[in-house]
């Protein structure tokens, strides 16, 4: 029973990791961009929400909803004014730019918010749980998982049912030809990064409520996100969700053996999966 409980906790933790990962999966899918600042951007989102809730006295959920459009604009501008200039056939510039950005954001947060730990208080919901048979399910972890499922559904809707989604998929196939169809691909990219940061904003909310945060934890979120994306296989949002869940379960199982082993267990499972399935569990048929 303890085992099942541990796995269940892991699945719900996986929801959080999927939220970390979906934005990364999106930008990679659309423009082959690996954003090394993704973890720090999530953290930036958390601090935006904390600030909105703290200094404007907005209720946490409202603060998060206000933060989402801010994140969109941030992502849009980031892509438009910075990343679009780095995206060419050479993979070095985007890596350097996003790595620089990661350091910039990390230290910017440090300069503004100090190294102190903070946490977004939801006024008690974070401690609540309900029993299902012998199992105890936390309200907040469950909400996180549901949010991740909802985000996957929404992203899939956008990707497969809308004109914008067609542009997303078409641009990753052949950006030049898409411009012949009248699309400004730079704009498509900007919207994609905007959406990726909205997803990061959702992740940011749950990150800040789940445990306390400080400016230095961004890179670790990037690595979890990255692992979830790779485990799931590039190019499928459901795959990314499952990748996050596998990572979450691996971590909680590892953590139940020895708390210090939690993160390491996740890394080891990731490496093992990559050895067995170099293209991840659910690779896309193309490329």
């Amino acid at each position: 029973m303890i085992l099942i409980d541990t796995i269940l906790q892991g699945v719900m933790l996986g929801g959080l990791y999927a939220l970390f990962a979906l934005g990364l999966s999106l930008t990679f899918g659309v423009m082959r961009l690996v954003n090394l600042a993704h973890g720090d951007l999530i953290l930036l989102g958390s601090y935006i929400i904390l600030t909105l809730a703290g200094s404007l006295y907005l209720p946490p959920l409202i603060a998060a909803l206000v933060a989402l459009p801010i994140m969109f604009v941030l992502g849009w501008a980031l892509q438009r004014f910075l990343l679009n200039h780095a995206l060419h056939d050479d993979i070095l510039p985007p890596l350097i730019v996003t790595f620089g950005l990661s350091i910039l954001i990390q230290n910017g947060l440090l300069a503004i918010f100090t190294a102190d730990s903070r946490r977004l208080s939801l006024g008690g919901i974070e401690a609540q749980s309900f029993a299902v048979g012998p199992l105890n399910i936390g309200v907040l972890p469950l909400m996180t998982l549901l949010a991740a499922v909802l985000v996957v559904l929404l992203l899939n809707f956008v990707f497969f049912k809308t004109a914008l989604g067609r542009a997303f998929r078409a641009t990753s196939d052949d950006a030049t030809t898409l411009t012949l169809m009248g699309r400004d691909t730079r704009r498509v990219f900007a919207i994609a990064t905007g959406i990726a940061l909205v997803v990061a904003g959702v992740a940011a909310f749950f990150l800040a409520t789940r445990a306390s945060i400080n400016p230095s934890i961004g890179p670790a979120r990037l690595i979890f996100a990255f692992e979830a994306v790779i485990i799931g296989g590039l190019g499928s949002f459901w795959g990314t969700l499952i990748g996050g869940i596998i990572l979450g379960v691996a971590q909680t199982l590892g953590g139940s053996i020895d708390p210090e082993f939690q993160v390491l267990a996740g890394h080891l499972v990731f490496i093992a999966i990559l050895f067995l399935r170099p293209r991840g569990l659910f690779p896309r048929a193309f490329d």
Partner: protein, 347 residues
């Protein structure tokens, strides 16, 4: 028909002047402990360790298309191997340093069997994962001091080559360590640059350089010659491991956080190479000097300093992708480490 004599040469006038100056500079650097303050020796030590790491990263990313953000793994491994020998099995320090390089290269093989499966940009994050795994694993080992690390035993310090002589010459104990570490890293630095330079002039190295000139092909496809990629990766990790041993020998303390610092051993290194000029031997040298200047003026600013550095890296890769050296050499045509051969008419 007049007869001409031809000679195949790769040197340029500047390169010969530069070589002479470089020899003088190295001689001065050897003598530096008697010429300059201990503080400057420490600074020079730092500059040269950074230069060694930068040359390695440059070889990986600039020539072999292996963009790593996880070289701190090998710095940390080198440091921990060195300290492990010092604490548990005191062998001559020089051997311990060599062992640090060998173990780093060996773990590099294991790491590569995983990271080489990742393409392009994903390789970068994969190397980061490896560094995390190594750090977390080491931090869990209570024999190695867990999260708080280890100190270099006093007795071991005293077995350093030259320690006794330096003490007799009036250097304090820790000054003697500084000087020994400084000379060692100077040696490492000179050897690293010469080895890379020699390597770049071998057919294999020229091949790498040729692919490099078509940078896009080199980085996106990865250099075709897989064996070459392995060779470069192994060599760099070996040198990086040795550098790690020396860095922490000088600090006389090691802990997981310092030994595996992304900022110190990846971010600084990457910015040195990018700002100086990737894909050349000269670039990292320029980069390290600029870095040192920035640091001496701005390091007191703490996070602001890092913000400036991050911004500089971004601006540099966008505005001058071939770095400051790229700008200099494309304006002036100066080449200090000539790689290509020129046919020269003698008669």
């Amino acid at each position: 028909m007049t007869e001409h004599k031809w000679s195949l040469t790769s040197s340029t006038r500047e390169s010969r002047i530069f070589a002479t100056l470089a020899i003088v500079a190295v001689l001065l650097l050897i003598a530096a402990p008697w010429l300059v303050s201990r503080g400057l020796i420490r600074d020079l030590f730092q500059i040269m360790t950074l230069l060694v790491l930068a040359q390695c990263w440059n070889l990986l990313a600039g020539y072999a298309g292996l963009i790593s953000v996880g070289q701190q793994a090998f710095v940390g491994i080198g440091a921990y191997v060195f300290f492990s020998f010092a604490v548990f099995m005191p062998i001559p320090p020089a051997l311990a340093i060599l062992a640090a390089g060998i173990v780093a290269a060996g773990i590099g093989v294991a790491a590569a069997s995983f990271t080489f499966r990742l393409q392009g940009a994903y390789f970068a994050v994969g190397t980061w994962v490896v560094a995390e795994v190594v750090q977390l694993t080491l931090a869990k080992q209570s024999v190695l001091g867990g999260g708080s690390g280890m100190s270099l035993p006093r007795e071991f310090r005293e077995t350093m080559p030259g320690f006794g002589i330096l003490r007799e010459m009036g250097f304090s104990k820790s000054a003697a360590i500084d000087v020994i570490a400084y000379w060692m890293v100077l040696l490492l630095c000179v050897v690293t640059i010469l080895v890379i330079y020699r390597f770049m002039r071998t057919p294999a190295g020229l091949g790498l350089g040729a692919v490099r000139d078509n940078v896009i092909a080199a980085r996106s496809v990865g250099v075709n010659a897989t064996r070459l990629k392995w060779l470069v990766y192994l060599g760099c990790n070996f040198i990086t491991g040795i550098a790690g041993a020396l860095i922490f020998m000088q600090k006389q303390r090691v802990s997981p956080d310092t030994a595996f610092s992304v900022i110190d051993w990846s971010a600084f290194v990457i910015f040195v190479v990018v700002i100086g000029g990737i894909g050349t031997i000269e670039g990292p040298i320029i980069g390290v000097l600029i870095f040192y200047l920035l640091q001496s003026f701005l390091a007191d600013l703490g996070p602001i300093y890092l913000i400036i550095l991050g911004a500089l890296g971004i601006v540099s890769i966008l505005v001058a992708p071939s770095g400051i050296w790229g700008l200099i050499s494309s304006r002036t045509g100066i080449v200090l480490f000539p790689i290509r051969h020129n046919l020269k008419k003698l008669g």
